[in-house]
Chain length 317, copies 2
């Protein structure tokens, strides 16, 4: 995770060209801690960060034990990397990814572990080319690993990153998985080092997908000319991003409720966000077109895209 953090920070600093990611470390009173690398006011990235954390505990939290029978009362170790990037240019999409690893065991019974995570893209001005590139890159990663499942993970992401009270996704999705293998699956291989290595290889390849999936979109749009109108739309979309993160995001709410490091958790907040009463873009404008992208679409089939039949509307209130 640490190596992933420094590699990613280097890649993002290179493309920014001006801003650097300041380092902030924090400790958790109960054990462990983390390092947040944060950029604010860069040439490309208005605000963003890459966090890693590693935490040990004497007993698995009850909420996790409830969904993972047999882990009650065991010591645990959890580590993760998460990042959010809010570019300045309204045509450059925002990006989020997190990958996490959880392990518990007492050294006697076979240890139990799982990986989770995903990546998703939030453009204020989506284009077919950009969204196809992003999803195609994720699908290529998944297709190389039998533990990965692009169609299921893509659907999970569409559902999860939905601003339910608005009946729209916060962006154009990506992939998201709670566990590489479900907790009730056959666990005869839990102590099998080969199974762990296969999981790790799949997740490491996912982390390695961040740069090729996202950075080309930043290169493409970092210099797009824009004016007040585009900035305004970007800030309104960021308001929806805030609504999602503070009302629905499980990681954010769990962190706030359990005394995580507030600044590292809320690094996901945009630097500036706007709200306006009942804002509805005029039909036929680029902003109205953008709304069509915030519903599930197939992005990897040759016939897919925004003009194809939507897969399904996300659940309306």
């Amino acid at each position: 995770m640490r190596r992933g953090q420094s590699d990613l920070v280097r890649a993002f600093e290179t493309i920014d060209g001006v801003g650097t990611f300041a380092e902030h470390t924090w400790e958790r009173p109960e054990g462990g801690g983390g390092t947040a690398r944060v950029i604010e006011g860069g040439a490309v990235f208005e605000r963003g960060g890459v966090n890693v954390s590693a935490v040990r505990g004497a007993r698995v939290p009850p909420s996790l034990a409830a969904t993972h029978p047999g882990t009650e009362g065991l010591p645990f170790f959890a580590t993760g990397i998460s990042m959010v990037l809010h570019p300045q240019n309204p045509y450059a999409p925002a990006f989020h990814a997190n990958f996490r690893y959880f392990e518990c065991g007492d050294g006697e019974r076979p240890r139990v572990w799982w990986f989770g995570g995903g990546l998703d893209l939030t453009p204020a001005y989506p284009t077919d080319d950009d969204v196809r590139h992003f999803h195609r890159t994720l699908a290529d990663w998944c297709e190389a690993f039998d533990r990965a499942d692009y169609p299921t993970w893509k659907a999970t992401c569409d559902t999860y990153f939905t601003v339910k009270h608005r009946g729209e996704m916060r962006g154009v999705g990506g992939v998201f998985f709670d566990e590489l293998r479900p907790p009730d699956a056959e666990r005869s291989d839990v102590a099998d080092a080969a199974a762990f290595e296969a999981d790790l290889a799949c997740v490491s390849a996912g982390i390695d997908t961040i740069v090729p999936a996202y950075v080309p979109l930043i290169e493409r749009h970092r210099g797009d000319p824009f004016g007040e109108r585009e900035r305004r739309w970007q800030l309104l979309r960021r308001g929806r991003y805030v609504e999602f993160n503070l009302v629905y995001d499980r990681g954010t709410l769990f962190g706030l409720q359990t005394g995580g490091n507030i600044e590292a958790i809320l690094m996901s907040m945009p630097p500036v966000a706007n709200w306006a009463f009942d804002h509805r873009p005029e039909p036929g404008t680029p902003e109205a077109d953008a709304l069509g992208y915030y519903q599930p679409h197939d992005w990897v089939e040759p016939h897919g895209g925004i003009d194809a039949t939507p897969l399904q509307e996300v659940s309306q209130r």
Copy 2:
């Protein structure tokens, strides 16, 4: 409630001098609806609104029935007025109030009703004079009604309007009450028209307290000179306001989860809010002084105020 709305809109339009409160009505598919009066981009008020709603239903929502035995399955009627004002000038405080009435009955058993509500102030640059004026005006209202209880309601407000993950209040509080009488109190007077009239008089006087409690503070600060520094601090404090409303505010979350009118609910959002990593004002600055106000203090005793011993720190994470 309707009369309260038009009176308050008139008072706020008068002090704004330029902006007007546009009217938006909405209907609820299950019955009832509301009217939102919204100002955006006024001379004084950057964004704000005054909502009224009135809703009937065939059956009391289970969450309410659980805390009010005997109301299960009864038809209900609910009405309320709520308002939030975000002034442009960083020295002019933001303001929130809501008052609501809930009644249920089948025409056979005695009807059950209750009133709830309150007012609170959120200054980016609090001063003793402003906060004392606000709290003194609320205390005067409460002292005139034996159903009202300033000390208890003030403490309820301090606790409720706390951004728990920050260990600070969102502002300087006010008063807040869930019910004029607790649901488990002696209810021999529930069918007593005199008791209802006494409740209504107390709440009506609360609504009448809004203008004298708040408007003088706007008059005092609407023209205060300010620069980028003060605007920046105001926007960071508005970020905390957003955090409170989306993570903790029961009315907001209940409305979003149950399909209320989204725009009327999120009228409380500021027009612009900022987030920055681990922002800490320099000691001795006005911004650092402001933080001291976001903890409970006694504001109505002669010895009270920011320099007195804090009543208690709000619960730290």
